[in-house]
Structures are given as structure tokens and as C-alpha cells.
Amino acid sequence: MTGPDASVLAIAAAVRARRVSARDVTAAALARIAGRDRALNCFTHVRGEAALAEAARVDARLAAGEDPGPLAGVPFGVKNLFDVEGLTTLAGSTIFAERPPAARDATAVAMLRRAGAVLLGTLNMDEFAFGFTTENAHHGPTRNPHDPSRVPGGSSGGSAAAVAAGLVPLTLGSDTNGSIRVPAAFCGIFGLKPTYGRVSRAGVALFAASLDHVGPFARSVADLAAAYDAIQGPDPADPVCSAAPVVPCAPHVGREIEGLRLAVASGHFARQATDEALAAVTQVARALRVTRHVEIPEAHRARAAAMVITASEGANLHLADLRTRAKDFDPLTRDRFLAGALLPASAYAQAQRFRAWYRARVAEIFQEVDVLLAPTTPWVAPLIGAPRLATVGGAEVVARAHSGVFTQPLSFVGLPVISVPVATPGPLPLGVQLVAAPFREPVLFRVAARLEADGVVAARLA
């Protein structure tokens, strides 16, 4: 229970049964971080003594006969855009480092702590979440634990790499255009981007509010479900958080998938990708005996609209700093934020209108299909410092942005997606997106668990 491969559920069960103390579990995780994170650079802040004290309180509650919660003693970390009481929320920047410490935890952090989980620290990311690589100029790049010369993906790169390396079994990230799913794929773990508005973003530094989501990373489907069940639900402090009743997903892990209508996303989702990325989808489709293909119309345009909304809202959010201190932005985000400040309003307005049109088309598809399969990324994790342009599928593309080519058309309309890690012949993992209609996370967990049980998908500890 104190090793790098210990799962969320195994740790919680052992701590609750008092076979191991939460303090020992925490101390072991802190030792792993001390031993490996100098090389990986996942954490930007480690709580150390504070985490040990928090774990000791979990043990004390158990000793007193109290119930500390279903995630008792589970060590976790959060992307450093989540408010943590007493810490300044960096959002990957140095500009925010001048701000006072957060007065309270973000809702999702508070919910995990109320469930008994122990917060070990905060994790590296692309500045203000604007990137897919976690090549952060201020805090240094996070390295992919499967190959340290490569990126872990982003923007929640520290969150994914920490789980893949076995530093902690559970982390939280955020996803505006793919920032949970891309790093989950590049690091070979499970990542859930829930339905837009299903998990509270209160106390999370926003990027593009129209598209911002919060979700968990883990190394098994059951762990992912346990984490998601702990954080999903209404929150009046987040204006887009849904009041819909909570449907726990843990009970769906292991349920039959017979009768579910599955299909592979074609068209946009089969272009401008490496053969191995497309082969990962085929591998999953074969295992599920899926032969049907469905094309989401105008998915390429949905991606373009997501780019316009992201750049416009992101630039507006940071406009005062862009006007007065652009030099303090990370060079990898500065040019794109500045460009976003110069976009015509008509493009933004049309992107939001197109979003409504596209949502209706996607809803029609999900009348006929329960789960769609699509590649998560067009390639395996690129090298740190890779050139700006790349060629894939015969086309020249902007390399860093292209990692989100398959994630953006889905988050654009808030669909729930699990990125599952697919075993590949090569040394680097890949992901496949399981996509459902809004609020149908339970079917995603059913399919993901079946694939995991059949050995088609598995997290890789590095």
C-alpha cells in the first residue's frame, strides 16, 4: 500500500481497515517525490509536513471510530490553477505569484479532502493552461516519465506525469481544449473530462470560461470512477455548474456493455494523424467488435471555433496584464494571447452561434449512438523543444496546437470523454477517446472497464 503502484481503492481500503496508516502512505509518496521529481518536475509545490499532519488527522479520526471518508489516506495532487487554502494559485505563471494566498480550497479540492484524500501539492502546467506540452518557461518543462526527452502533454502535464510515474495515484487537472485528455494519452493513463458543468470550477483559475472543465487522472477505471464520484455534483459557486442529480459511476464499473451502440468517429478524426494513432482506435474497435463509422459534420470547423473562443476569452481575461506587462508572460503563450486580443468580435460571436448549431448536429448523432471512439492525439508524445511546424498525413501543421486536433471538436460542446491508454508496440503510449452524450458518463465507465478487464487498455507505470 505504500508502493508506487498502489491504487486509490486499495490504499483507501487498507487505511480504512487500519492495515496501514495514512501517515505512512503519505510519507512514502513524499519520499517518491523527493527521489524522482527533481528529474520529472511534476510538482511546483510539495506540502511536506502539512500533508503528513493532514494524514495524521485521518488516522486520528479512524482511531476515534469516525469515518474519514471513502478516499481515506489517498495521496493526491492538483494542477496549480486550483485554489489551495494558504497557497498562491499560480496557473503556471509568475504574474499570479504576486497575488495573495487563496483563502479557501477550490470546491473540487475541498470535496476530495472531505472524502479523506490527502493533498500532497500542486502540479506544473502550461502558463494559464494555454498549451498542450507543459514546456513552462517559468517553472521548467515537465518530462514524460516514459521518455524524459519528451513532453508529458498539457496543459495538465504535471498532473498526468505524476500519476504515470507513480508519485501519487490520483490528480486533478483542467481541460479547455484537451488539457486532460492529451496528457493522459501521452503519459499512458486514464483521464476523464466530464460533461461541461458537471464538476465545479469554483476556485479554479479560468482560461476560457465557455470551455473550461475540471476532471481527474488515475491508473485504473475504478480509481477514476471513485475520484469522479467524489467531485461531481452541483455547486452554486460555479455559474455553469449543473443542478442535475448526481449519478455515481463506480457502480457502472464492471457492468455489461451488451446493447450499447458503439461507433468509430470518421472523417476529421481519421485525418492528419500518424498510422499508429489510428491503429490504436482500430485496436479498441476490434476488441469491442465495432464496425460502424459515424461522421460528426463540420468537426474541423468546430475545432477552429474552439480556437477562436479560447483565444478571445483568454486574451480578454488577461488583457490588463497583456497591455502593461506582456514581457512577463511565458514566450510560448505571449504571442498567442496578444494575437487573441486582436481578433474581430464577429469571429467570436459567430463561433458561439456555430457552437449552438454544432451541438444540435452532435445531439442527433447521439440519438443513434451511445459511445463514439476517436483517437485522443494524432501522435505519440513529441520531443521537448520540437520545431514549430510538423508534417503529418501529408499536411504541414502547427505542431504544438495539432496535439489537440481530435480533442477540441468534442470539448467544444461539452461532451464527456474518457481517454483510455492503449498498449502500443512502441515504447510510448497512446490514447483513445470514449465519447458520450452530455451527462452519460456512466456508459463511458462501462466501456472503459470492459476494455481494461479484457487487457485492451492498461495504464503504464513508468
Partner: protein, 61 residues
């Protein structure tokens, strides 16, 4: 998604109008980034939408 052609002079003029000062050293990279964004914007605005399609975010007073 083809990028639009944007020069450094274009960026300077737009930045002046928008009141966003841009350091000379940043102009080349911003021109490239704006070209990519305007390429995306053209793709979006070229799509004919019926007049009754409203923006996705709905304001409720």
C-alpha cells in the same frame, strides 16, 4: 485550416487601434499567431448559419 497572411505592419496597426502595445521583438511571432487565428476565424465566419441560431451561452436575468 490555412493561416491568413498577416504582416508585422498589420499587427502594429491593429495593436494601435486595440490599445495593446506590442514590443517590436514580439511582432513576428504575433503575426504568425494572428495568421493562424484569422485562418480559423475565416473558417468559422464562412459557414452560413440561419438567422435564428443564437449564441450558445444563454443569459438568464
Amino acid at each position: 485550416m490555412d493561416p491568413a497572411r498577416v504582416t508585422e505592419a498589420d499587427v502594429e496597426r491593429l495593436a494601435a487601434v486595440a490599445g495593446v502595445p506590442i514590443a517590436p521583438g514580439d511582432l513576428p511571432a504575433v503575426a504568425v499567431a494572428l495568421g493562424v487565428l484569422l485562418g480559423a476565424a475565416r473558417l468559422v465566419t464562412a459557414f452560413p448559419l440561419p438567422d435564428d441560431v443564437e449564441p450558445a451561452p444563454v443569459f438568464r436575468p
